[in-house]
Symmetry: C2
Subunit: 387 residues, 2 copies
């Protein structure tokens, strides 16, 4: 990190949610947690629960927030807590993969898919599951697991299954299905649904996610996986997550004046403003395009989410560079802007994913640079064919 020099490198590769710091700074002591040395020493949190390492206080606040937001059906589900939703994806894969099949089950996701999926599935060269790429191109016989991120990381679109047949086991990653990023059209109702504090409250450093799981046996196997891989989940972070989720729920039920909005309103407004400025800068540069979004009714707000077609509040900008530019990541790196290449999401290098969750000073500097970008000499058509 090169301090605050105007020519410093801006790292927008990761979705590091430091944008949220401002909200939490304003909350003061209400969001502070105090843990005495003798507390939470045991491995166990709730011996009577299928998920024996789930802190009851955390589970209560999870249920309360979903009930306020209306983004997920939570009745008759098992809650499984994980070390971030990353661990829960792996737990779900473990639970859904047959242990005694002839060959590993195929795992697919529609491109552009979350860049971590291929390595998550294949890092140990598992004999029970295997990454099989783009769900839209999947045409193998037999069972499969489909990972569905909705709204999608990186492009922000709402998604359903993309495989052209039934018979798949579906895992829904709903990390971005919160009112600051998307219209809450109805409570999501799927077999396995994953959420995380990283993207709902901005506490990425906690490493806390949760799953709602319909089937008891699937939930039991997910718990078994987390037991094997980390013997449960940090209690300290679960307790802290309970505290911050409570503050978010309170901020919705007792919203204050403009200076004391709910987390969803404050971050939503910030995101909409960032997107408006980003669209302006991108239009001015004429080098890139951004996805368009359709207006949608948000039941949480009781209003249309996007009165102006084309505006957005998605967590990432999925930027496409236009001809003659070919590699968007390489081009932006010349301006000391680090992004994640479309190649990592299963598409071409003309795309990059840019985090819009960074602090103001980084976002502003990024926009300044985008506004003043020119086609480099080497990317001019005549130059390219001349060398």
């Amino acid at each position: 990190m090169a301090g605050n020099a105007p020519d410093r490198t801006i790292n927008l590769d990761h979705g590091d949610p430091t944008l949220y710091e401002h909200f939490w700074q304003e909350k003061g002591d209400r969001a502070t947690i105090v843990i005495p040395g003798w507390q939470s020493m045991s491995y166990f949190s709730d011996l009577g629960n299928l998920c024996w390492f789930l802190e009851p206080e955390f589970a209560r606040e999870v249920l309360r927030l979903h009930s306020i937001v209306g983004n997920a059906v939570t009745e008759d589900r098992h809650i499984v807590v994980g070390t971030g939703s990353t661990q829960l994806v792996q737990a779900a894969l473990y639970a859904l993969s047959p242990q005694d099949a002839q060959e590993p089950i195929s795992v697919v996701s529609a491109a552009p898919y979350y860049s971590a999926y291929p390595a998550l599935v294949d890092c140990l060269k598992s004999g029970i599951h295997k990454w099989a790429g783009d769900a839209a191109k999947f045409n193998k016989e037999g069972p499969f697991i489909e990972l569905i991120t909705s709204p999608n990381n990186p492009d922000g679109y709402n998604r359903g299954s993309a495989v052209n047949r039934t018979g798949g086991k579906l895992v829904h990653d709903l990390a971005y299905y919160w009112p600051q990023y998307a219209a809450i059209s109805s409570p999501a109702d799927h077999e396995i649904m994953l959420f995380t504090v990283s993207k709902s409250t901005g506490h990425a450093g906690m490493r806390i996610g949760w799953a709602f799981v319909k089937d008891r046996e699937v939930a039991r196997k997910m718990v078994k996986f987390i037991e094997l891989s980390t013997i449960g989940v940090s209690k300290d972070s679960q307790l802290r997550a309970a505290t911050v989720l409570k503050v978010v729920s309170d901020s919705c039920e007792h919203p204050g004046p403009a200076s004391n909005q709910s987390l969803f309103d404050e971050v939503h407004n910030l995101m909409v403003a960032r997107w408006r400025r980003l669209r302006g800068a991108v239009k001015q540069s004429a080098l890139f395009t951004l996805p368009d979004f359709s207006p949608a009714f948000c039941r949480f707000r009781g209003q249309y989410f996007e009165p102006q077609p084309g505006s957005s509040s998605a967590a990432f900008a999925w930027l496409r560079c236009e001809e003659p530019l070919e590699d968007c990541q390489v081009f932006l790196r010349k301006y000391k802007i680090l992004t994640r290449s479309g190649r990592q999401f299963g598409v071409g290098p003309q795309y990059v994913r840019i985090s819009l969750l960074d602090r103001d000073e980084n976002f502003n500097l990024f926009l300044e640079r985008v506004s003043t970008m020119d086609l480099p000499q080497s990317a001019q058509p005549e130059e390219r064919f001349g060398s």
Copy 2:
């Protein structure tokens, strides 16, 4: 948990370190951590560090405590923090397993080995490593990884490599190499050494472990594994671990009167007293035997650790039932005592592992029952041969 009824079930299956609660209750506010809502929101802890999710304050306190205790060489090592040492074992396996070998590398450990190892290695049917059982019986050609727990879980003995040849890659799990359990004979000096707060300070619920790794490339791959599997390690728990490690170090450097001993002295004295009573009860029952330990000089205390041969302060009792009893776990279960069978540690059912880290009331009740045990009718030799 059936409350405090005298006939309630006593669960000594897990090594749940609730014995430590008393020490931490006495420390009061010194061991309390306060985390405001805006702190530690980012994924990143230390961008300049190979282990980018390692909290610098935690790393400092780890180094300070090892320097006081003298149980590990820490110079010129990389520190990798993990979600408990369980995650670090897997990270080490990932780092040491060739990615492009013809067949998975064999992973071994001398029986009785830590009961979680086989499932840890094989749960995903990995193509890069495979559980190959008892190190002492391993006679396959080619490379291998040996997991060495010293002092050993379950039997408390000090250990070195048990494979009858060189060429192995060794992982040393030193979770119990602390002065409350064992004589610190010299600073351990190995390629990969694992430690955990669960067994050093008693904070199992934190899920925090750390590794000292000599080789930079191995450390880099371990970090990569933790990045893939959980995108780092809870910052809240790392910060809390830093706080409690500091209190432990302070308790060593500024020990108070008997009522305010260092953690190592207090827990050591408790363990020695428990072992003395356990040996008495076991001797009285004549149904079981316990391991014997040799006296050893502890450099941390500057004195012989075991002035009375046969006494001990190990975390587990590795209990063997004698003829005509055959299945120690089944026998103890009749007295509502839950233990872990020797079968899970790669040996026979005549053994069980019993946690000695539970709260006083459970340990006392356990001893009472052991003292009054009789051979059941069905286990009498005449009965067994008659049916």
